[in-house]
């Protein structure tokens, strides 16, 4: 592909700014926490975007892959592995889990994949809740040496990896096959696309990213009062919501959606408590029903409207002159 230097420069600048932020100024911890949460959400929503937005398979069990990443990373790290390897280990464990559910369900068309992943998240939550009834925590030495900056960088790196994976994916043959499956499964199959293979590949890549996000969360949080919380359906729902609000099947949509969601929940959660999830649910349904292309879609629509207005103005002007 041709390299677009202007675009590359802009992206490089944005990345440089994010890298420089903790070096140049000392931000308050709550803002750093917010940034790390944002990066985790970007990773998760890009992960859902690969399987849901580009391949068209609705995954309702992202929380299972995320939680698996959290758990495995936590225990690998506790056993003395360096955190960067532990995070990769968490990602790989999520890939194995995805294989278990993906191989039987993706073979069939219809709702089986959604039901299977949904069931997987529920089952993981039950099993983990029964196995680790006590609090899951790191030894005191880890907690004593807690510093927010390495967490920030790890989250940033993983988010950049997620965005880069999606970028290279959609410009590759694999991405083309995925989009063909989304647009028309039968037509893709007839054209010689091995739909089962590409669906499974998309699921595995997506699960790996979700596992990485889980690893970052394990590194970020250290201890878990209730480990079942990382398997709760919120971790599925909120990434799906940010993908849909931003615009599914686009590179920039999930990023915009995540920013929107994280900022909004920061504002709402403090004031409204449980009711803010009700508002999110209503907002989500409205977006799915009335603006299925999300923010990116409405930007496109607005642009079309502007050109339309421009054209009619110039047409009017031409008529007046004539």
């Amino acid at each position: 592909m041709a390299i677009n230097w202007k675009k590359l420069l802009i992206i490089g600048l944005i990345v440089a700014v994010f890298i420089a932020i903790p070096l140049v100024m000392k931000l308050r911890t709550n803002i750093m926490n917010l940034m790390i949460t944002l990066f985790i959400y970007i990773t998760l929503s890009q992960s859902w975007n690969i399987i849901g937005g580009y391949t068209g398979q609705i995954n309702l069990g992202l929380a299972a892959f995320f939680g698996c990443g959290v758990l495995i990373t936590h225990f690998l790290w506790e056993s003395g592995m360096p955190i960067y390897f532990a995070v990769v280990g968490g990602g790989l464990s999520a890939v194995i889990l995805a294989g278990i559910i993906g191989l039987p369900t993706l073979r069939l068309r219809g709702v089986y994949f959604a039901i299977g992943t949904f069931a997987l998240a529920q089952v993981c939550r039950t099993v983990v809740g029964n196995t680790f009834a006590r609090m899951v925590q790191m030894p005191a030495s880890y907690i004593a040496s807690y510093s927010i900056v390495p967490r920030y960088y790890l989250a940033l790196i993983v988010a950049i990896i997620a965005i880069a994976v999606v970028y290279f994916l959609i410009n590759s043959k694999l991405g083309l096959a995925m989009m063909a499956i989304r647009d028309d499964e039968v037509a893709a199959q007839v054209s010689g696309v091995n739909i089962f293979k590409y669906k499974v590949l998309a699921l595995l890549i997506s699960a790996f990213l979700a596992g990485l996000a889980g690893g970052v969360y394990a590194f970020f949080r250290l201890s878990f009062m209730y480990i079942t919380a990382v398997f709760s359906h919120t971790w599925t729902f909120e990434p799906i919501m940010s993908v849909i609000i931003g615009g599914s099947g686009t590179l920039i949509g999930p990023i915009l959606g995540s920013i929107f969601l994280v900022v909004l929940s920061e504002i709402f959660a403090l004031k409204l408590g449980e009711a803010h999830l009700i508002i999110f649910g209503i907002l989500f349904i409205l977006v799915v029903l009335y603006s299925p292309h999300g923010l990116v879609g409405s930007v496109d629509k607005a642009r079309q409207l502007l050109t339309h207005i421009n054209r009619s103005i110039s047409k009017l002007r031409g008529e007046i002159q004539a």
Partner: protein
């Protein structure tokens, strides 16, 4: 031996509840091509309505069923009008299924959190004068509430079966589930049939909720766990096979109670998932369908 029979007695009752939930689900999936993730939350909502009828007016749980049916039928109509009918404009059925899953997943959030605010996260159940009573049969003890629940579930399923096979409405439903466009060309009012069958499906969820609150207990978040096993029951019965759903529910319930003896009750969802994967791998058309 006694403990196995006792476990089977438990399994039949819980299986009837699964069957009832799965009936509503498969009515929605078969007729309208919607997958309702919020069905479990609606079951719990039905339970809470019955709970309120008991607490506020002292109406017995099983006598409250007609009221719950009416209330949940109305909920179903509102749900269809507000959230599901816009989906009919989508160009193809695949998109309709996917979008309905997303919408009802959002609905789970609205319902669960609204119920948490209204009824607090504590486990609720209804204790009537006959709650502790039980009847001996074949060396096993059936609780009276369980037997009543079993009876209600079977009656409801039979009533639904007659509604679908013997009335004009049922004929419309079957025609639409085969081919909605052709049915519409033959003069069937597709939208009205959708509306009413959505109401019926949600009302069935309400009945299941009443049985659950009288035999077990409910919390605002327990809907998803009931829903999950009912999904598996639906897959066991095979797509669109309404007749086989209650038997499939009994099989699932028995399997669950027997496995609870072997590996422990908390792992019932694991058993359901394993069953789901096995059925998909070896008999994806369901246990009760003949053709492959």
């Amino acid at each position: 031996m006694g403990i196995v029979i006792q476990a089977a007695a438990y399994g039949i009752v819980v299986g009837a509840v699964y069957g009832l939930i799965a009936l509503g689900l498969s009515l929605l999936t078969g007729v309208m091509k919607f997958l309702n993730i919020a069905h479990g939350s609606l079951v719990i909502l039905g339970g809470y309505i019955s709970f309120w009828l008991f607490k506020l007016w002292g109406i017995d749980t099983y006598l409250s069923i007609p009221l719950v049916i009416i209330a949940m039928f109305l909920v179903g109509l509102v749900l269809y009008k507000l959230a599901l009918s816009p989906l009919l404009k989508l160009p193809n059925i695949g998109m309709r299924i996917d979008t309905s899953m997303l919408i009802t997943f959002g609905l789970v959030y609205i319902l669960d959190n609204a119920m948490t605010i209204l009824w607090t996260p504590n486990a609720r159940s209804v204790v009537t004068s006959y709650t502790g009573e039980s009847l001996g049969f074949l060396g096993a003890k059936f609780s009276v509430t369980g037997l009543l629940g079993l009876g209600v579930a079977i009656l409801t399923a039979v009533a639904l079966y007659f509604l679908l096979s013997r009335t004009y409405f049922g004929k419309h439903v079957r025609a639409i589930s085969q081919d909605a466009e052709a049915a519409s060309l033959c003069g069937i009012n597709v939208h009205r049939t959708y509306l009413i069958s959505c109401g019926i499906a949600i009302a069935l969820a309400g009945v299941a909720g009443v049985i659950i609150i009288s035999c077990y207990s409910i919390t605002p978040n327990s809907g998803l766990s009931w829903l999950l096993i009912s999904f598996v029951v639906m897959v066991l019965a095979g797509e669109g096979n309404i007749k086989a759903i209650l038997p499939a529910g009994f099989i699932m319930g028995l399997l669950e109670s027997v496995s609870a003896l072997a590996v422990g009750a908390p792992y019932r969802e694991v058993v359901a998932l394993i069953m789901f994967i096995l059925v998909l791998m070896f008999r994806p058309q369901g246990l009760f369908t003949k053709r492959g």
